[in-house]
C-alpha cells in the first residue's frame, strides 16, 4: 500500500476510482478517511447531517463488489449530497425550519442513480434555504464557512470568514475542503457554477431535462437542474454520466441516450469556434476578471479553437426577468408547505390562521420575500404585465443563443461571476438586488435551458479563485468538458487551501 489513508482525501475522484480498482486501498479506508476529515471540519458547517454508519456499510458492499471484480462505475467513491435531494429514511430539510426532521420515504432519481452505480453517501450538505441565495447566508442552520481565506497585504493570513457562494455552498465548500470526492448540487440561476467559482472547484449545470428533477425539493421548476461539483473537469464528467438519464417520473426529463462524458474530456478544441459575447463586458467588472477572460480565450485559441466575438443582445434583461419567473414558480411550489402534510405546524385560530402562522415561523426572510414577489406578479391584474412579459423576454434570450449557435459557434466563453468571494454580511444589507447581481453571468443559461460549466482559471490579487464559464448548445455537454479540460490544463490545477480548520 503506497497511499496512506490520511492522504486519501486529496485524491481526485478519478484517481480514487483507479486506486480502488488497483487494490491500493479499500473502499472502507477511503470512506473512513473522509469521515475523519468531516469530523475535524465541523467549524465549516458544510454538512447538515453526517451519515458515517451508512457510508461504512455502503463501502463494505463496494469492497465485496471490487473483490468480486464486479465494480460499478462509481464503486466505493464517497460523495456528499446537497440537502435538497430526498434520501430514503435520511432527514432532508432544504436548509429550512419548515422541513425540520422531514424523512422522505422515497429516493430522488439523481441519488438513486448514484447509489445504483456504487457511490457511497457521506451525508447531507448545507445550502441556502430552498436553494434561494448566492452566499449560503440564508440557511436556517447557519451559513457555510468557505475553506478559502484572503491573503493579507503582507502575504500572511487574513482570518476574515468568507462565503462559499450559493446556493450549493455546502457542496462547493466540502469539495474544496476535501470532505468528499464530489457532491451533488442544483442550479436554478447559478447555484452550481457561482459557488464552484468562489471555491476553485468545477461545476456543471447540464441542459434542462438531462437530469431528472424527481425527488429534488422544487424551487422554480422550469429552471431547476441538478449537476455535480468536483475538483476536476474529468471528475464532474464521471459524475454527470451517472446522475443523468431519462425518468418517467419527470415529464421534462428527456429521452436521449447519456453519452460517456468522460470520453469527451480529452477530445480537445481543435477546429471548434468559441464565441465571446460582447454584452458580458459589464460596467465595473474588475480588471483581473477581464484579463482572465482574455487569457481563457488565448488558451483555447492556442489549443486550436477559433475565437470570435458574438452578440447576445438581451443579456441585460435575463436577471430582471429571472426575478419574475423564479419567484412566481417558487410561490406555487412552496404552497405545499401548509402545516398539514409534513414539516412544521404552528396552531392558529382557524385553518387559514394555522397556514399563516406555520409559514411565518417556518420560512426565512429571503424565502418569504420571494414567495411574496411571486404571489404579487401572478395576482389578478399583474399577471400579463409581469409574468407573461417575462416569459416573452425569456423567448428572446433563448433566441439570442439559437442565432449564435446557428452561425457556427460551438460554445461561448464568459466569466462565471463578476467578483471573487466576499465576507459575511458584506452584501445585500439593505437591498436584495445587490446579492442578485452575483448571478448576472450565470442566470441567462438557466433562462435558455442550456448547459454551463464553471472551471477555475486563476486567483485574484487577494489569492481567491476566479472561474470561467463555458456555455454550450442544448445537450452538448461533451464540448464543455473538452473545452473545460483545455482551460484546466492551461491554468494548472489551483492549489486548494490548507486545512486551517482541522
Amino acid at each position: 500500500m503506497t497511499t496512506k489513508p490520511a492522504e486519501l482525501t486529496d485524491l481526485t475522484l478519478a484517481q480514487a476510482r483507479d486506486g480502488l480498482r488497483a487494490k491500493e486501498f479499500s473502499a472502507r479506508e477511503l470512506a473512513q478517511a473522509h469521515i475523519d476529515a468531516i469530523e475535524k471540519a465541523r467549524v465549516l458547517n458544510a454538512y447538515l447531517l453526517e451519515t458515517p454508519d451508512r457510508a461504512l456499510a455502503m463501502a463494505d458492499v463496494a469492497d465485496q463488489k471490487l473483490a468480486a471484480g464486479e465494480a460499478r462505475p462509481l464503486e466505493g467513491l464517497p460523495l456528499g449530497i446537497k440537502d435538497l435531494f430526498c434520501t430514503h429514511g435520511v432527514t432532508t430539510t432544504a436548509a429550512s425550519k419548515i422541513l425540520e426532521g422531514f424523512q422522505p420515504h422515497y429516493e430522488s432519481t439523481v441519488t438513486h442513480n448514484l447509489w445504483r452505480d456504487g457511490a457511497v453517501m457521506l451525508g447531507k450538505l448545507n445550502l441556502d434555504e430552498f436553494a434561494m441565495g448566492s452566499s449560503n447566508e440564508t440557511s436556517a442552520y447557519g451559513p457555510v464557512i468557505s475553506p478559502w481565506r484572503r491573503k493579507g497585504p503582507d502575504g500572511t493570513g487574513d482570518e476574515t470568514k468568507l462565503v462559499p457562494g450559493g446556493s450549493s455552498g455546502g457542496s462547493a465548500a466540502a469539495v474544496a475542503a476535501r470532505l468528499c470526492l464530489g457532491a451533488t448540487a442544483t442550479d436554478t440561476g447559478g447555484s452550481i457554477r457561482q459557488p464552484a467559482a468562489f471555491t476553485g472547484t468545477v461545476g456543471i449545470k447540464p441542459t434542462y431535462g438531462r437530469c431528472s428533477r424527481w425527488g429534488t425539493v422544487a424551487f422554480a421548476s422550469s429552471l431547476d437542474q441538478a449537476g455535480p461539483i468536483a475538483r476536476t473537469v474529468r471528475d464532474t464528467a464521471i459524475l454527470l454520466s451517472s446522475m443523468s438519464g431519462h425518468d418517467d417520473k419527470d415529464t421534462t426529463s428527456v429521452n436521449l441516450p447519456v453519452p460517456d462524458f468522460e470520453a469527451a474530456v480529452n477530445r480537445g478544441v481543435k477546429g471548434l469556434t468559441i464565441g465571446i459575447p460582447k454584452e458580458y463586458r459589464v460596467e465595473g467588472m474588475p480588471a483581473e476578471i477581464e484579463r482572465l477572460w482574455q487569457q481563457g480565450a488565448d488558451w483555447l485559441r492556442a489549443a486550436g479553437a477559433k475565437v470570435v466575438e458574438v452578440s447576445l443582445p438581451h443579456t441585460q434583461y435575463a436577471l430582471p426577468a429571472y426575478y419574475i419567473v423564479a419567484p412566481a414558480e417558487a410561490s406555487s411550489n412552496l404552497a405545499r408547505y401548509d402545516g398539514v402534510r409534513y414539516g412544521l405546524r404552528v396552531p392558529g385560530k382557524d385553518i387559514a390562521g394555522m397556514y399563516e402562522a406555520t409559514r411565518a415561523a417556518g420560512f426565512g426572510r429571503e424565502v418569504k420575500r420571494r414567495i411574496m414577489i411571486g404571489t404579487y406578479v401572478l395576482s389578478a391584474g399583474y399577471y400579463d404585465a409581469y409574468y407573461v412579459r417575462a416569459q416573452k423576454i425569456r423567448s428572446l434570450i433563448k433566441r439570442d443563443f439559437e442565432q449564435v449557435y446557428a452561425s457556427g459557434v460551438d460554445a461561448i466563453l464568459t466569466p462565471t461571476t463578476p467578483s471573487s468571494a466576499f465576507g459575511f454580511g458584506e452584501k445585500a444589507k439593505a437591498d436584495p438586488v445587490e446579492m442578485y447581481l452575483l448571478d448576472v453571468f450565470t442566470v441567462t443559461v438557466n433562462m435558455a435551458g442550456l448547459p454551463g460549466l464553471a472551471v477555475p482559471a486563476g486567483l485574484d490579487a487577494q489569492g481567491l479563485p476566479l472561474g470561467l464559464q463555458l456555455i454550450g448548445r442544448p445537450f452538448d455537454e461533451e464540448t464543455l468538458f473538452a473545452a473545460g479540460q483545455v482551460i484546466e490544463e492551461a491554468a494548472g490545477r489551483i492549489a486548494l487551501p490548507q486545512a486551517w480548520w482541522a
Binding site: G101, F102, Q103, H105, Y208, G209, T251, T252, V254, H314, Q316, Y317, P320, A321, Y323, I324, A335, D338, G339, V340, R341, Y342, P347, G348, D350, I351, A352, G353, M354, Y355, E356, A357, R359, A360, F363, K368, R369, I371, M372, I373, T375, Y376, S379, A385, Y386, V388, R389, A390, Q391, K392, I393, R394, S395, L396, D431, P432, V433, Y436, G449, P474
Partner: protein, 95 residues
C-alpha cells in the same frame, strides 16, 4: 410600479404568511427594490413574441391510463404533524 403597506399586507395574506406590523415597512422597501429592478423590462419590445412555455421543445409525454402505484397511506402520512387512522387532521373548516 410600487406597493404600499396595504398591498404588502394583502400579498402576505394571499401567500398565507402572517406578517407583524414591524415587518411591513422593511418588506415594502425590499419588494419595491425588486419591482424597481424589474421595471427595465418595460423597455423591451415584445410585440409578436410568444411567451416561453416549454424550455426544451418536446411533445408532452403520455402513458397508459392505468394504476401504477398506491397503497402507501402510512408512508404518505408518516411526516404529517397530526394524523388519525392514516388521515391528515386539520382545524375544523366547515361549521
Amino acid at each position: 410600479m410600487s406597493v404600499d403597506a396595504k398591498t404588502v399586507r394583502r400579498i402576505a395574506h394571499l401567500a398565507r404568511i402572517a406578517v407583524t406590523d414591524e415587518e411591513v415597512a422593511p418588506l415594502q422597501d425590499e419588494l419595491n427594490a425588486i419591482l424597481s429592478f424589474v421595471e427595465q423590462l418595460d423597455a423591451v419590445d415584445v410585440s409578436g413574441v410568444e411567451p416561453m412555455t416549454s424550455v426544451t421543445p418536446m411533445a408532452m409525454k403520455s402513458r397508459e391510463d392505468v394504476i401504477t402505484d398506491g397503497g402507501h397511506a402510512r408512508e404518505i402520512v408518516f411526516n404529517a404533524p397530526l394524523t388519525e387512522d392514516n388521515y391528515f387532521v386539520v382545524p375544523k373548516v366547515v361549521e
